[in-house]
């Protein structure tokens, strides 16, 4: 197969990335590493960016471009971690939230308009654990959460143990 200068097949159709997101996304991940849902997620983020103020009927400002930028960095990490497609929602005040759930547990990652990131995990017994993600661009930090989710651990205590082990 013929290849271009960077080794991609010449006839391969590139994913259509909106120009406003193009630069940010390409900084964090090659389109060829993205799962199938990444295009859909980009479309949804573009819709969220286009929401007018008061979209929530309670006076929220528009979704913060900074939150979208951080979201893209997180998705860039997550796209390599075998995670299913998340649900994505705007948060009143300008943030964004991603949500995953499977038969046993749930994971929420909220990106606040000032780029701070927080998570919530819920285990099969309804136990909850939440906290900040200080370096959302660090695959290890996000990976700890996604591993817990994918492994369908029984208890939020398993995540605490994993965090303690990683900190040693």
């Amino acid at each position: 197969m013929e290849e271009n200068a960077i080794g991609e097949p010449k006839n391969m159709e590139h994913a259509k990335i909106p120009s406003t997101l193009d630069t940010q996304w390409s900084r964090v991940s090659s389109v060829f590493e993205q799962p199938l849902w990444s295009n859909n997620m980009q479309k949804k983020l573009r819709v969220l960016l286009g929401l007018n103020s008061n979209w929530d009927s309670y006076g929220s400002p528009s979704v913060s471009p900074a939150a979208v930028e951080t979201s893209l960095a997180i998705l860039g990490n997550i796209s390599r971690l075998n995670m299913p497609e998340p649900q994505v929602f705007p948060v009143s005040g300008g943030g964004i939230q991603f949500e995953w759930e499977n038969d046993k547990c749930e994971l929420e990652i909220e990106i606040r308009p000032d780029k701070k990131v927080e998570f919530l995990i819920v285990d099969s017994e309804g136990g909850m654990l939440e906290g900040p993600i200080y370096r959302p661009d660090d695959p290890a930090q996000i990976g700890c959460l996604t591993h817990w989710f994918i492994e369908q651990k029984d208890s939020v205590n398993d995540l605490l143990k994993a965090q303690h082990a990683a900190a040693r």
Binding site: L51, V91, S92, G95, Q97
Partner: protein, 140 residues
């Protein structure tokens, strides 16, 4: 931010109304293990940590959705946020006498975080009106 105090005239079993965002086919909904659907926890999350609600005895469903026909509407009992360390505060600066804010007390409760509290309120929410996209989906 204004200093908020719990409005004791709103009893724990009084219902509070909250509109639920809706756009196109965007389902701001989660399926629970019970088979019920609930709003996402984002419905009870606000960057300012103040969630606007209306006291149900002072607001009809139609009034709560006036101008927002696509939105859903849920209710939660005032005791739900209170049992989770929040207060239901009057908002004298708001001209609508039915308006309240679910928010932290002056000394915030530290037993659980803001996300867990939002999640618990979302789980306790009962639908009064489903969002338009859900109504359209179930009728088709």
């Amino acid at each position: 931010m204004l200093q908020r105090v719990d409005d004791e005239t709103v009893s724990d079993n009084e219902n509070l109304l909250r509109r639920i965002w809706n756009q196109d086919q965007w389902m701001n909904l989660k399926l629970m293990k019970s088979g019920e659907i609930r709003p996402s926890s984002v419905a009870f999350t606000d960057e300012n940590d103040e969630v606007s609600v209306f006291v149900a005895t002072q607001k009809t469903t139609e009034e709560a959705l006036e101008g927002f026909p696509d939105f859903g509407l849920v209710s939660i009992e005032a005791g739900v946020p209170r049992r989770n360390g929040l207060i239901v505060a009057a908002t004298p600066e708001d001209p609508d006498p039915a308006h309240r804010a679910i928010c932290n007390p002056p000394i915030p409760d530290q037993t659980s975080g803001r996300k867990a509290k939002a999640r618990k309120m979302a789980e306790a929410a009962k639908w009064i009106v489903y969002p338009l996209n859900y109504r359209a989906a179930v009728s088709s």
